[in-house]
Symmetry: C3
Amino acid sequence: MNDVEPSSTGLPSDLPAHAARLLHAVRQEQPLIQCLTNSVVTNYTANVLLAVGASPAMTDIGGEAGPFARIASGLLVNLGTPTPEQRLAMREAVAARRSVGGRWVLDPVAVGALPVRTALAADLLDVGPTVIRGNASEIRALAGQAGGGRGVDSTDSAADAVPAAIDLAARTGGAVAVSGAVDEVVGAPARVGGDTGGAVERYRNHHDAALLTKVTGGGCALGAVIAAFLAVGPDDSPAICAALATGYYTLAARQATEVSTGPGSFAVALLDRLAAISPDEFAADTGLSVVPATATDDDANASAATAATAVDTAATAVAASAATVETAVDTAATTESAAVRTGATR
Amino acid sequence: MNDVEPSSTGLPSDLPAHAARLLHAVRQEQPLIQCLTNSVVTNYTANVLLAVGASPAMTDIGGEAGPFARIASGLLVNLGTPTPEQRLAMREAVAARRSVGGRWVLDPVAVGALPVRTALAADLLDVGPTVIRGNASEIRALAGQAGGGRGVDSTDSAADAVPAAIDLAARTGGAVAVSGAVDEVVGAPARVGGDTGGAVERYRNHHDAALLTKVTGGGCALGAVIAAFLAVGPDDSPAICAALATGYYTLAARQATEVSTGPGSFAVALLDRLAAISPDEFAADTGLSVVPATATDDDANASAATAATAVDTAATAVAASAATVETAVDTAATTESAAVRTGATR
Amino acid sequence: MNDVEPSSTGLPSDLPAHAARLLHAVRQEQPLIQCLTNSVVTNYTANVLLAVGASPAMTDIGGEAGPFARIASGLLVNLGTPTPEQRLAMREAVAARRSVGGRWVLDPVAVGALPVRTALAADLLDVGPTVIRGNASEIRALAGQAGGGRGVDSTDSAADAVPAAIDLAARTGGAVAVSGAVDEVVGAPARVGGDTGGAVERYRNHHDAALLTKVTGGGCALGAVIAAFLAVGPDDSPAICAALATGYYTLAARQATEVSTGPGSFAVALLDRLAAISPDEFAADTGLSVVPATATDDDANASAATAATAVDTAATAVAASAATVETAVDTAATTESAAVRTGATR
């Protein structure tokens, strides 16, 4: 599937050519991607980056994470298992990265349901991640839309989180990628006068890659691939880099599904396919469509004005006191705690 | 092999039906299993849980481990690489879990031979794990039966550790699963008057899964599967949940052995088979037999009275001083240090 | 390829027999190898050791690493992700290991480009690792040859680092293994009078194992295999143990390449092949040649006198101040930072 529709918002009209160009550039430039990621998925994430053609470096200790973030080609910060040492290193890396104007990716694993990472995520959000990648529950929680007693909901589709994603993109000026059965990627609304109510760059990915949810790190590794595409497309928007990374990764996953007999052989085949797909093969099947601005965006724009406040509120509510924390967690449990359930490992 | 014998102690007489029901429930309910486990096996353990049909969450930092343990469906604490941060999180998680009456699994990796974890294990044992899973050396060491200058012995069969296992079960009121060429699972002795000298619920697993010893985390991941079975069988005894988890896991391992060409492909095939085995297929080949009370139990009952004291002694002896520590470790080395050798990674 | 040339320096003339004997011994003795290694590769390293026939133990916390290092059969210290806790444990382990005269392996991942590990590496070097294993950039940086504004260079071949390797071997009295398209292994120069200007034991490995660079931990795991070969060949020189471990590991890698369809299936096949190769099969294809002393050695001897000073200088230069650190790192970036790029994960 490759429904490249004419864009009404000045978006790229030739996604296949973009796709081939960026994948080729990853293979040629072998961008050095620094990952501060959770302990469950470090190995798989590094192997995914190697398979893609990039060079991983898991430099995540204090005193090294900052200097390294200045020179790396890309940076991923994933909150899956944020030990005190890693939290220190993450703050150091993000500050150093910002000081040199470098792009970086935030994966807010299980934010909203667990207190330590929720407070950390609010701080990191203030630094302005170039791309935020998460599932629908995490994106909504990060945008402060998980309140009202409902907690996070595992049955959210990615589309349900698009308004929250646009809120976040408006705040950071970057892009937000929401993973789901169909993936959604949005950029920051264009500024109209002093406002952010303009058109939104938006993509949808249609590759069927359901087995990714059966491999730990299946989602986390995508964050690293997005960082690699950002590194080699400095003149491309964060949204199109994130969309193309998603299309490529899920194309490999779909192909891997066809040759595997379960989640173990799928994870192995995914690495093989990531290394094997040529730029031309990717261009012929990006999986992406460009989504024109719709009524959904109007909803989003309406709520964008409250985004900054909402995020701060989310962090405050969770971090305020132990009692509040437990309430927040219990609330999440009541609604099946999907962000928690899947977030901590995928 | 599926020798379901009539039980003389009120044990379930229809293991196949139990087997099918619990495996079906894991797949349906997708229990959320929190794992505080060693850094070597986090990835494989998470992938095993996903393959089984459960949802892993490796939430193991202070400030999050406790709140999470209140809402998780299951909890595994594995002592393989207990950093200070993890030790803090383990104490927090276990206390929180107990406060809500939740079940949990303890895997006392290399206890007895290494000082930090031995002291920690003694404390955790006091909180009453629902199931303890280990190899024969670890179970004997945890029960305080490794003293007398012999240290731990790598040639222990699981059967040799059954008296120690019954001692521990009597103390915790839960079950103990001993891994070996033939696996042994025992429950707590029934109380007769104020004593614990009653009949013991006991199972034996006969599936040949020797290649599990060639994959790091092969044993550790079983602890997580036991936690998943405990989660979906709240009205089933800890012993039968642990036995069925063992039977299912080793059935998948036996099938994986048949299609693999070495330890690498075996580890991959194990994940595929764990996901593929149907409840009916498991029911037709549980691998389990019910073991009637025998003379072995008499030995165990005789020694049960000294169990609590022995465990405290083990921790004290190892933790008392550096000099003692080195003596204990040297002793283990003299007798080939099997718990150390295999325990730290499997 | 198996070009065993007559040695002019008293080196073993029958490499095939040595090869068969040491591999057989690993399988028989199952040496217990303690690994303090980076968080990215713990799992793969443990599985490589199990496949080889050794027993892994990732005992890397303070209070346990030291006592364990006294009793383990071998010890690997890998600086890939040196958290404060691991740095403490590494110092503890190496001191304990030295106190009992035990052999150990140092893998100085990304040394020279990152400040914390560079300072640590200088300290550990003083303790005298039996074997140092790294890529050309790391070996040159550790020997203090990366200064002068050039930083490390990704295009170094292993041969380019032989003078630096000989410098280091002269300082430690052990061996240095340099990984590359063709691997180089050197021993310490023989002492002539009070000087170290004598002949150098030297091997070259010719197996083509390029896919190892596409699997994270592909190089790191070789350090563990070297530790296993050192453990079972106490009367063999460090250099021949390191060379044979390299020949065996890369033979398995070459065979794995032939049966795999990408980096994912290669990593799996490597484990299968490591377990399958028989001592006789290895003897028939060690991949090794003995390198006679050449002019290269003269260069090395000339620079050996300055080695100790150079290493201290490297550590000082990087650790001196934040400003210096950033300069050093920026310099590395300018020259493509290959040690950083590949070192942190391989």
